[in-house]
Amino acid sequence: MGCCYSFFCNDDGSSQNGEPNERTHLLVNTETNNINIQGNNSDDYLNQDVNAAPKKTDEQSALSRILQETATNVIDVAALDAHNLQQHEYLDRVKMYNMRIQQVLAANRQPYKVKTLLLQDVSSADKILAAEPISAEDYHFVTSMVSKASLAITEIKVEHKEDLVVPFRIP
């Protein structure tokens, strides 16, 4: 009973998927096999199958169309990542881009010159710029000492030991 049930439910699917079941003939092709089997069952199924044959091809073409559309719309990120630029490719591109820039500038009649760089005389600017800044100890030392000195300087006063105004002997 279970077998009949599954067959009726999957009247298209069973032959489409090519899965053999208890009704599959070993030596007959699937199309005729399907019609013969269903003809034995009832007229309804026969009529359904006549309509089902073109419908099936429609579904298949629709399916393949969907697959094609999906394939064209899909961006394969994994495949993109796999393509790493090699060193010589970088160099080639640098050359190519420089050449293009020269061409464009020549067309515009503008002289191509590199601006003077700020850190031109520093050989490895990245190392110097990435170096550790002042240590916390030094920072606190300097801050405290300068504030102490600032305080000390505010205390500077003129201490007069003699009279600033000296009376002259005016006769």
Partner: protein
């Protein structure tokens, strides 16, 4: 008179690796110098602190470090005075 400042400069020089210090007022006038530092550098130090503080006017005055291979000069402004401490690395 300037005894408190002298004492502070003594304290600075007694710190390990420190070999000089100089203090300048807001106009670059030298207020005090001790150790291997020159009074003539006071004006330059004041100007450096002045210019550096213009980078971030709303922040606290920055600590500026000038570094050579084996020495460093740390400059900071506090109020109207600027201090510079010379130190071995």
């Amino acid at each position: 008179m300037e005894k408190p400042l002298e004492r502070v400069m003594e304290e600075i020089l007694n710190t390990t690796d420190v070999f000089g210090c100089v203090f300048a007022d807001h106009q670059g006038l030298c207020l005090g110098v001790k150790g291997r530092a020159s009074t003539e550098s006071a004006g330059v130090i004041g100007a450096i602190a002045e210019e550096a503080s213009k980078l971030e006017p709303n922040s606290r005055p920055p600590v500026i470090v000038l570094e050579s291979e084996n020495k460093m000069c740390i400059i900071q402004r506090n109020g109207t005075i600027t201090g510079a401490i010379y130190k071995l690395i």
